[in-house]
Amino acid sequence: MGKIVAFSGNQAIAEGMRQINPDVCAAYPITPQTELMQQFASFVADGVVDTELVTVESEHSAMSACVGAAAAGGRVMTATSAQGLALMWEILYCASGLRLPIIMTIVNRALNAPLNIHGDHSDAMGARDSGWIQLFSENAQEAYDNLMQAVRIGEKASVRLPVAVCYDGFIISHSIERMEMLEDEEVKGFVGPYQNLYHPLLDVAHPVTYGPVDLQDYYTEHKRQQVEAMKNALPVVLEIAEEYKKLSGRGFGYFEAYRLDDAEIGMFIMGSAAGTAKEVVDELRATGVKAGLLKLRLFRPFPYQEVAAALKNLKVLAVMDRAESFGAMGGPTFNELRSALLSLKTPPLTFNYIYGLGGREPSLAEIHKAFARAREVLTAGKAEILHDYLQVRE
């Protein structure tokens, strides 16, 4: 068994990276990721890890160095937030397109402008189509557990895709919680030595070309392969979750279904606010309201069949988005869910709340407000307002 510690999310990930001991880490500091990498840099400086830490001049360079190191044949990790992720955007597609299983922690933060350093999902949602697997975490424990599993998921031969481990800035990254760490040896055994499964550049006896021009005659086929890799990731995520659960006693597959079985009204949510929302579900249950919740862990690939199946008995569903998709029909997860639920014979009435932008953490009362709307929709038998703001001043 591992030991119980009091860690912030950033400490948890820095310790997790120490235990994984990647070959290369290239990163650039940005709030709220900074102390994660500061802590990891101390491990490098102290010789606690063997990692080659590349202190680059920007996030564009950070991801570029990661791509080079991963193509060379190393196990590679990095971390960023917000504008940093935005600056990486071009190279995110190189990492996934070249099928390099880089592991990146995204400490979720609002995107400027106006300038805001606090938590929301705008950064990760902006990268949702970049071909990266995305895992979301409710707390430091889940972030740590996701990091361990991300290594195995991304490196699986049938997948070979980069993986992002996401957790909310400040409320997770900088808040100290009780969590359990695995023993160093357990992590070593779980992640295993890095297998250079696919034609590393440093295998000089078998020279290969990475990144040649790929025009009308082949590009479509290579994109189709990436789609297949995402599909392949679905069973792999469950398989690795099962294995990790045996080791740690913790975890779940694609999502956590909370008091959902007999629920009439439900909430769909990702990240730290799920904890607050579960508290509200308990309060509602205590007054006889059949409320439930689905907290999504795996956003990419989106497990639409399983999510729809888990929500099929609901009469009303409130979808909570911690990012806006300007001009779209609601937030990013709302779009995914409406699509997924369309396959049901009698899908629940569904509406969308945007909440938590720029670190405006939702209170219990505000989550209650969302459930109250769900109850109104249940009574009315229709959802007239599809896209609304939970916490905005009129």
């Binding site: 099928r99 696919y198 070309t209």
Partner: protein, 109 residues
């Protein structure tokens, strides 16, 4: 290269990797050409400036003599015609399809 010979997505290496080294030789870049080089052997003194400057490897040399062009890889850039020290040049550029090999053709700038 006919389309039916191209591999499907299940057969191709992932990530757009090219697994065999030196395979650019198999890629027919000669189809990119608009102008093709024409050699005038009566002017050529085999100084091999063309061979030295060719950005591909499209100048064919045998026993120290310039013997012609690798038309599968020559992209028709015209550098060989430009660097030829002879006046007039021992190589002239002719628009594809307008003249046969060995034809004097029109000299390009």
């Amino acid at each position: 290269m006919s389309e039916s010979k191209l591999k499907g997505w299940k057969e191709l290496p992932i990530g757009g990797l090219i697994l065999e080294p030196g395979n650019s030789e198999a890629y027919n870049t000669g189809t990119w050409r608009t102008f093709k080089p024409v050699l005038h052997p009566e002017i050529c003194t085999h100084d091999l400036f063309c061979w030295l400057y060719c950005p591909d490897a499209a100048i064919l040399v045998k026993d120290g003599k310039m013997v012609g062009f690798d038309m599968k890889h020559c992209k028709g850039c015209g550098i060989c015609a430009k660097v030829c020290p002879h006046k007039p040049s021992a190589i002239t550029m002719v628009k594809e399809g307008e003249a046969e090999e060995g034809d004097k053709g029109k000299e390009t700038k």
